[in-house]
Symmetry: C2
Subunit: 321 residues, 2 copies
């Protein structure tokens, strides 16, 4: 136990001095849901909260990875360090072997001020959204100034990942389908900055004006009207302008007091999620040990009991306490 | 209380006789997270478990809605009744007004044996995945023989929705992007049937053979080798063949005993999810009432405490019991 505590303190210290191998080791522990992993998070927690977390989301093919790559260069050129978390739904079938578009990012592997991690490789027993937030914390405690989180978007767990970012960039491309398809992705309302990438293609102007029109209809974000930018990430076009907007958005968050609100909301959401997981885990273990769980499940399978009543029955002793 | 119980019993009875207005009323109650809603689920639970639940997923633009429309016609032609649940990530920004592709489905509105529900209109306080499963239960108890659940795919909550289906159809289209993009969606490993829609387009054969090749590499689904079909949903081409495969998959599930396993897994997952929600809700209310929560959150905000330690502290009295 003391030995483990020593290892944890040593790892946390090395991480805070920016040690990449310590970061990799900690992330592996998180991946394995190692008991030491939560001790690490405990240890590094006071050092987190400094990075600017930037979410990059959008449909497959919009060029998110290339954009993250070019933004990484731009941030580095401004003298700041960068973390990149590439999130993909876990696929036990494909593993991570075919993710060829990550290869481009390897250019940065020799830069000690850039730390990149793809989340596609394993099962993440604790859930992908939680794991991503923990990996962001690791990069934050490591001292990375800007952390990009790239997700394919669309699903609720991805929306929750993007909502944990200070600044969310929604990347689109011209002619990917009609307006309704874009709306379907359910990501329109979470964008702080909209990017039409591959804007050298035909229809780019139309996609931009459609997005502008849609934003004009949106009343809820009065304080910050999301800009719509055009980029050709492959050719490094529009990247500087995008970084200017990203930085402006952080200034806006700070000046408007939204950064504090954001922070309180994050703290609360994270606490509640963890409480939910831990409580259920504890109670399920208790019920299993007391041979209650099997009996309840059998009744449910025979439809003699419904799930709501089952939960009610199991929680009764707790509530009477 | 008795009055509400009476209303619940009356609604449940009307639902079981196939009353569409009762179904709509119940779904509204679920949407509002009305306390009566869970009593309804309790009441109808014994009547559920008969429908064949078929998930339809795939990237935006692949033609899922048209496919669901044409499959609905085909199932009706075979004399069976149909439920359709169209799931889209909730968008407070767009509301449901722009979902024009649902309009086509309105052809079925005059058919009493077809019940369609879009999940895009509201906030679903209890979470979209849970709400979808509850709406499926309503259609199941209503006596619908086949229930199609259409989602945009990709996210974890959608994967959880699709995993709740007996048969999952992954819809693609030719030339939507390279292979890696398709893999990225993280839906390859959950497909029981693959459909290349819009197969009158160039590149259709290539998309099919790529998919076949990928499935040949996959060892995990030895008992059922997912077929790869070509359709042109708009022109009603390949729909009959698809329905044959859907029916064959159910026969396979039944004969192989997988249907029982599926059922047990569903029951357990649903119970655990509900327990998680209810426990956390109860405990958060308790902590709030005892003025513990605010103090913990303040410490977390000042980073004097980390979330893991906070949860540990709060759960201590419970665990000592």
């Amino acid at each position: 136990m003391t030995e483990q505590n020593n290892e944890v303190s040593a790892l946390a210290e090395r991480l805070e001095s920016g040690d990449r191998r310590a970061a990799a080791r900690i992330i592996s522990m998180l991946e394995d849901n190692d008991t030491g992993a939560r001790d690490i998070i405990k240890a590094i927690y006071p050092k987190t909260g400094k990075a600017h977390i930037v979410g990059i989301t959008g449909p497959p093919g919009a060029g998110k990875s290339t954009l993250a790559d070019k933004l990484t260069r731009a941030v580095r050129a401004s003298g700041r360090s960068v973390g990149v978390v590439a999130v993909d739904p876990t696929s036990p079938f494909t593993g991570g072997a075919l993710l060829g578009d990550r290869v481009r990012m390897q250019d940065h592997f020799t830069d000690p001020e850039v730390f990149i991690r793809s989340m596609a490789t394993r099962g993440w027993l604790g859930g992908l959204a939680k794991a991503t937030k923990d990996v962001v914390k690791v990069m934050d405690a490591m001292g990375k100034d800007v952390i990009f989180v790239e997700t394919v978007g669309a699903g609720q767990s991805e929306v929750s990942i993007i909502q944990a970012a200070h600044t969310s960039i929604v990347v689109e491309m011209p002619g990917l389908g009609d307006d309704i398809q874009a709306i379907k992705a359910g990501i329109m309302e979470i964008g702080d900055i909209f990017v039409v990438n591959k804007s050298d293609r035909a229809d780019s102007a139309r996609t931009v004006s459609e997005r502008e029109m849609m934003l004009d209809l949106n009343q809820s974000k009065a304080a910050w009207r999301p800009p719509v930018l055009q980029t050709v990430a492959r050719d490094n076009k529009g990247i500087e302008e995008l970084l200017v907007k990203i930085d402006e958005h952080m200034v806006h968050l700070r000046d408007s007091g939204q950064l504090d609100d954001y922070f309180k909301k994050q703290v609360r959401a994270e606490f509640e999620d963890l409480l939910r997981e831990e409580l259920a885990k504890y109670m399920l273990e208790e019920y299993t040990a007391k041979n209650v769980l099997e009996k309840v499940l059998e009744k449910l399978e025979r439809r003699e009991l419904d799930p709501y009543s089952a939960v009610q029955q199991l929680m009764e002793p707790l509530c009477k306490k």
